[in-house]
């Protein structure tokens, strides 16, 4: 037994000494290719993941046994045409380059169905759709009367009248004020008695709308309020802000003066003030912190006459969007776009921003500030990915940061960024004229008014199984309210 054991031991030792380096080399991508100059070559891999999964993979003419998600190994360096084929879906074709020892990753490939997955959501027809970002609500207008305003919840898939029937139901709605991430709205309606401002909660279990007309001594240019709270409103008049307290129904006039721009975080108001002040103020008006001490930089960035809306994403990422489309950030090099920006959407996880002008889409990457080996910091990089628009109205990140969905006039397109060359453009559908659309990443669906019928409908853009479902807690808005009330 001892001798046998010794023999087996040396046999296994030999297997290890020979096998171990071979395994390591294979793991690093080396293979033996007969016929090649040197025989041993370093290969690369391509990782493919599609939504939906299970697509057959073709690399050139060769069909692979694996289906997506899959890793294609032992590829020599070079360009490969890759095709993904799945029943009932349009084949996805792209040329992919492979480098030695590297993995080319295409992990967010959206396969487009041959037959679009559209769902009609209402029977009624609407004239306008008003999305409220970061909430479950869409506002729908059947007509101009107050009683013709409805709310649709994409989470519950239910529609209800915005306000209960009342004497004001026939009043004409002249303006609707909404706020991102807020389940409230203000309606400015006119009837024989004059103009009224009505503050209402959008949820189905809402109480009666609150008439807050008395808080408006003069007509405001804008009305805004901080996300997730329902006590304070801020009305902008020319160059000052009034603070309206809905609990006590009082107004603090000229809460902030000489305003050149403002915006909110959950707890504070950010203002551009005077000609050299960028500050942060709590809603009680007591704590004021100056955030910028360089008046010359202030002048360079913001000028004297332009008005900026301020968007606070985090302590280290604030964006300023001027009325003329100038886009400024608090990160170097500060000025991102000189003019023309109409709006933007942020993909928070990857720290990427999509901006649109009338005819172009651009992507700004905040995450790749510094690359190893670089001595000079580069700051956020703007890349124009599409320049052939006609009248771009809105854009959304789709499937994290792999696609951009945008509305150009009455057409909706999907721009694929997950390519190794130029982005691919796909036309999705046409929608009702002058009606905005809204994309919800949580459901992977686009909400719009049907081009012909005006009915509310939705289109599946990203299959459900591809989405990571992180359900919002139902008490989210209550939690935020409580937080703010603690101020």
């Amino acid at each position: 037994m001892l001798l046998f054991r010794r023999i087996v031991f040396y046999l296994f030792l030999t297997v290890f000494l020979i096998g171990a380096p071979l395994i390591v080399f294979y793991a690093l991508g080396y293979i033996y290719k007969p016929g090649e100059e040197k025989g041993i070559v370093k290969t690369g891999v391509v990782y493919l993941s599609s939504a939906p999964p299970g697509a057959t993979i073709y690399v050139g003419k060769r069909r692979y046994y694996e289906k997506t998600p899959a890793t294609i190994r032992e590829l020599l360096a070079g360009e490969y045409p890759i095709k993904l084929v799945l029943k009932d879906y349009i084949p996805w074709i792209q040329s992919v380059s492979v480098e030695q020892g590297k993995a080319t990753v295409l992990d967010k490939i959206l396969l487009r169905p041959r037959k679009k997955n559209m769902t009609r959501l209402t029977e009624r027809r609407y004239q306008r759709l008003i999305p409220i970002a970061l909430t479950e609500y869409l506002l729908l207008e059947r007509g101009t009367a107050l009683g013709q305003m409805e709310v649709y919840s994409w989470e519950k898939d239910v529609t209800w009248p915005m306000l209960p029937k009342s004497v004001l139901s026939k009043a004409k709605v002249t303006k609707v004020y909404t706020e991102e991430d807020s389940p409230y709205a203000i309606l400015r309606a006119a009837d024989k008695g004059g103009e009224r401002y009505l503050w209402t909660k959008l949820s189905k279990e809402r109480e009666k709308a609150q008439d807050i007309t008395d808080l408006f001594v003069e007509k405001p240019d804008k009305i805004d309020w901080p996300p997730g709270q329902s006590r304070y409103l801020f009305s902008f008049h020319g160059n000052y802000l009034n603070r309206l307290d809905l609990d006590s129904m009082t107004v603090m006039p000229k809460f902030a003066e000489q305003i050149q721009g403002y915006g909110f975080s959950a707890r504070e108001l950010y203002v551009l003030q005077g000609e050299d002040t960028f500050a942060r103020v709590d809603f009680a008006g007591k704590s004021v912190k100056s955030l910028m001490k360089d008046s010359s930089l202030f002048q360079i960035l913001f000028g004297a006459d332009d008005f900026f809306s301020i968007h606070v994403f985090s302590d280290d990422l604030i964006l300023f969007l001027g009325d003329d489309g100038k886009l400024v950030t608090n990160r170097l090099p500060y000025e991102l776009v000189e003019r023309g920006v109409l709006g933007f959407d942020i993909e928070k996880r990857e720290q990427r921003l999509v901006i649109w002008t009338q005819d172009s889409l651009g992507v700004i990457d905040f995450s790749s500030d510094v690359k190893r080996g670089d001595i000079f910091q580069r700051g956020p990089q703007l890349r124009w990915v599409y320049k052939e628009g006609r009248d771009i109205k809105d854009a959304f990140w789709v499937y994290q940061d792999a696609y951009i969905l945008f509305q150009d006039r009455n057409d909706v397109f999907l721009l694929e960024l997950e390519t190794l060359g130029n982005p691919n453009l796909y036309e999705l559908l046409a929608v009702k004229k002058h009606a905005p659309v809204h994309y919800v990443e949580k459901t992977g669906r686009l909400y719009y008014l049907d081009e012909k019928s005006g009915r509310l409908a939705s289109l599946e853009v990203v299959p459900k199984q591809a989405l990571i479902d992180i359900p919002l807690p139902r008490t989210e808005e209550e939690r935020k309210e409580k937080k703010v009330q603690g101020l």
Binding site: L2, A27, T43, T71, G101, K102
Partner: protein
């Protein structure tokens, strides 16, 4: 003369002791923390190291499984060996009557193999020129230390000595009771003595006084005291100690019916019988079906380890209940009185005392003990954890053995290195391998930064690991088959379905290996490293109602 103890050390010896006490724990922690940090800082390097480790582990697993299967086969072969018949044949050889011959079997292949092995052993005995005493003159001293055990724990073991094929008239049983034991325990010992005295050659009860100088509260001290008393007994009865085989059993140990016969045969056929220990295969069948699945898997694993160890007798070390020459025990000064791991310590003590002229002889016969059951699942887990930690405390032998090797002039360097490496590597593997395989192996992918996740290695490493684990499942299947064959068959109250379900319990290995093998071992090594020596904790045992 080298003292096998860490007490009363001074100067260079004390420094050496602390250095070697630190080494296993330090190595284990360095390995684990190092791999963790490399996974974070250099994921490519970590992934390569882990692939190499996985491959090494796979080959080692195949290697061990092969010898597990062979060892189990040997156990199976010897299951029906007529050991008493063999003993008689050796007696005839000693008496010079006729050379033992074996009846060729026409249809029993097991017997053929067993006979062949026996022939070789007898041939070696003849060539050695060291004839054994007659079996009539061989006595068995069975020492059973007791401190908390109730009568119902101890009695089945005593009964098993009676039911064996070896005549109990040559067995002396000693119940070694601690003075600190409760009166109930002492009373039980006396009752057992009263009841069974007439069945054996003799049945003694010793009371080990507390707080003797130089002694810790360890089983070895109690056993050593009983052995000294037995030595006096043998002197009074004029029984030569060279003819005595001592077995130190746990209180719950139940021997196989062939145990003493096999032991006697092994003693007789071993030319250097008074420089030898005899190691059976421990199994935990007393209550194996009454404990949680994870405990079952764990104890089967312990049995398997001993089965594989039995295939390399040149490196075999005694473990748990075992037997040895009483003369050797007496010569080396009995079991250490200040060490928890008396089972392995006595082997090393003897090995160093006899300057390497000492061996452990594997015996292919089983003895059964209890799984550390405590009633509830949680309590059993704690019991099992503590028991495994106590087993892992065998690492306390490492520094003493190393000092012994450094002090020894006669032991060849190669031999010292071989044994030191095996001892050291065994403890390190015990504490680290499950953690590397189950936890750390996945960290490079978990921590993968952009730089790593865009390499080929990031995508091939999981595939290679998966392939290795798939191959390892072949070993798992073999293990499951062996475990099903090894499980007790006589208890028919559990259905075939239940036994088959046991096969799926082996899927608990990753969890069991981490929480009840690696962590207790790491715990023990860390305590030794920090100088927090363990008190002896008597494992709670219950009998199923």
């Amino acid at each position: 003369m080298f003292q096998y103890s860490r007490q009363y050390l001074k100067g260079k010896e004390l420094l050496r002791e602390r250095l070697f006490e630190t080494l296993p724990g330090l190595t284990s922690w360095t390995l684990l923390v190092g791999l963790f940090l490399i996974s974070f800082w250099k994921p490519v390097l970590a992934a390569v190291v882990i692939i190499l480790f996985d491959f090494y582990w796979l080959l080692r697993l195949f290697y061990l499984t092969l010898f597990l299967a062979l060892s189990f086969l040997r156990l199976y072969v010897e299951e029906q060996t007529d050991w008493m018949g063999r003993i008689k044949k050796i007696d005839r050889l000693v008496e010079g009557r006729d050379r033992p011959s074996h009846q060729p079997s026409r249809w029993r292949w097991r017997q053929e193999i067993s006979n062949w092995i026996c022939s070789r052993e007898v041939q070696k005995l003849e060539e050695s020129g060291l004839p054994p005493p007659s079996s009539k003159d061989i006595y068995h001293l069975v020492i059973i230390p007791m401190v908390k055990e109730a009568r119902k724990i101890v009695e089945p073991g005593i009964e098993s000595h009676l039911k064996g094929s070896f005549p109990p008239e040559n067995i002396i049983v000693v119940l070694a009771v601690e003075e600190r034991a409760q009166e109930e325990v002492k009373r039980s010992a006396m009752e057992l003595q009263e009841e069974y005295r007439s069945c054996f050659y003799d049945f003694l009860v010793t009371i080990h006084p507390e707080n003797l100088p130089g002694e810790a509260g360890v089983k070895g001290a109690n056993a050593a005291f009983a052995a000294k008393k037995a030595d006096e007994y043998f002197a009074s009865k004029k029984i030569p100690v060279a003819n005595v085989i001592v077995s130190c059993f746990d209180a719950d140990t139940v021997v196989d019916k062939n145990y003493f016969a096999c032991l006697t045969y092994s003693f007789m056929v071993c030319p250097h019988r008074n420089r030898a220990s005899f190691q059976p295969i421990p199994v935990y069948h007393n209550n194996i079906w009454n404990v949680p699945g994870f405990a079952r898997v764990l104890e089967m694993g312990a049995s398997f380890f001993q089965l594989t160890e039995a295939t390399q007798p040149d490196k075999l070390v005694t473990f748990s209940s075992h037997s040895m020459s009483f003369k050797a025990l007496k010569d080396v000064g009995y079991w250490p009185v200040d060490m928890v791991s008396d089972d392995s310590a006595i082997f090393w003590k003897a090995y160093l005392y006899f300057e390497g002229d000492y061996r452990a002889i594997p015996m292919y016969v089983t003895l059964s003990m209890d799984v550390a059951d405590a009633g509830s699942w949680w309590k059993t887990s704690m019991n099992v954890y503590k028991q495994k930690r106590r087993w892992a405390w065998g690492v306390e032998n490492f520094p003493i053995v190393m000092r012994g090797f450094l002090n020894s002039k006669k032991l060849p360097l190669y031999q010292k290195l071989r044994l030191a490496v095996k001892l050291f590597e065994g403890h390190i593997a015990w504490a680290t391998w499950p953690l590397i395989l189950v936890v750390i192996g996945w960290l490079p992918a978990f921590f993968a930064a952009q730089e790593f996740s865009s390499t080929v290695l990031y995508y091939t490493a999981p595939r290679i690991s998966a392939l290795i684990f798939n191959f390892a499942s072949l070993s798992l299947v073999t293990t499951i088959v062996v475990s099903l064959c090894l499980l007790p068959k006589k208890k028919v109250k559990h259905s075939f379905f239940r036994k088959t379900l046991h096969a799926f319990e082996w899927l608990l290995i990753p969890v069991v290996a981490v929480f009840f093998s690696a962590l207790p071992a790491l715990d023990a090594q860390t305590r030794l490293m920090l100088g927090k020596y363990m008190e002896f904790w008597v494992t709670e045992k219950r009998k199923a109602k």
